[in-house]
Symmetry: none
DNA sequence: GTGGTCTAGACCACC
DNA sequence: GTGGTCTAGACCACA
């Protein structure tokens, strides 16, 4: 996994969790990777992973069983969905729309980029 | 002008310049507000404005005439357009698309949000 | 380190970096002093050092690892060499030559000064 | 006349005077251009020229006859020569030598640049 | 009037 | 611990 410079690493790790939960790759009560293991896999400081986990736990997206690990909570799906959608529609989309105006782009162009992006994913 | 807390103030001031240049409110060789004046208008510290100006000057978007002020450079339009478009297509759009996938949204929904946003602007 | 008053402090700190990089005292990917530490060592305000670092980062001479520090970039050597040589040959040397003409000095005299300067360095 | 960005304009105008005096294009008691005229010729603000003249007058290089103009003083030659030589040997040359060391250049290379520069002047 | 630099001190996010 | 941003206030050189 590569990290963008525009966003903090621990939030990008959270994004990775959001994806896995929303797309149901990780189900309710399933164990998520250990802090240490994930830190090794992602080549980041364990503190950084821990920060993500603390953050997700605060939001009741994962829960902890002492000595065993972290697990996906019951409400994870709905919490994440609300969270992501909220931020998407109130922060990110308006930002995009403003930039579109500045660049004089219309929805069709965005749509083209989208199709392009999707076809690139397959390869 | 209100500042979002997600982004540094000096970069939001830069964004303000980008808009004015792209939409040709400010033309080539036109004088831009003085550091002190803009600081007063935006209610920020002059150092913060100075930081924006230094940044824009480094990117050859504005130039300085000693003792007189800053002016929009010849290539400002094209430099800004490249800059903004580059970041938009390589950073922001993919981010949006990823989130769309996660949320299971399609282009039609985005388009609806867009039209909604545009009609809100008019009011 | 003493600072000349003809040049801004933050640029003199940059010169110090140029020297260390060109003479390979600092190698690629080596960590450079932290902003705070260097500020203490040089007895200047951290903001002043920060200004140098931002400048060098913009020029891709150093890069940042979040929360860890600044490091010498791959291309640092060649960038600095180009930078310094460019300025030396197009700005400083012509200036010197013009003054030599005005003073009626020839290359031999300059050479004498040079040898003199070098022998003073040793003591 | 073109002005370098590295030096203040009024000092570059002073340099122009130094050259004319040292190379005896302007002799003792000869009238120098009026402030207004020179400002027009050089396309600078009259204040800037005035600043040069004040500076030169302070150093007894030119003197003023009220209502008539400025004139080259008796001691102009020797004063300028001392002034320029002093700055040249204590400020500029050491600076050059330091840069030479950093770039690993020797006197021969400088000499080559010098010959090159002189032959370019003729064209 | 203009920009340019610097200090002092603070607060924050991040690793 | 690291950098990043911002404020307040000052002083200077320059046009």
């Amino acid at each position: 996994m590569e990290f963008s410079k525009n966003k903090s690493i621990y939030m990008q790790i959270a994004d990775y969790f959001y994806g896995n939960i929303l797309l149901e790759k990780w189900k309710v009560d399933e164990k998520v990777p250990s802090v240490r293991q994930l830190a090794v896999d992602l080549e980041v400081n364990p503190n950084t992973v821990m920060r993500t986990y603390t953050h997700l736990q605060d939001k009741n997206i994962i829960y902890n069983q002492r000595g065993i690990g972290f697990f996906v909570s019951n409400e994870a799906q709905s919490i994440v969905k609300d969270l992501v959608k909220e931020q998407f529609t109130t922060d990110e989309l308006p930002e995009i729309f403003k930039t579109m105006e500045m660049l004089g782009m219309d929805m069709q162009e965005i749509s083209d980029y989208y199709n392009n992006w999707k076809s690139n994913l397959k390869n």
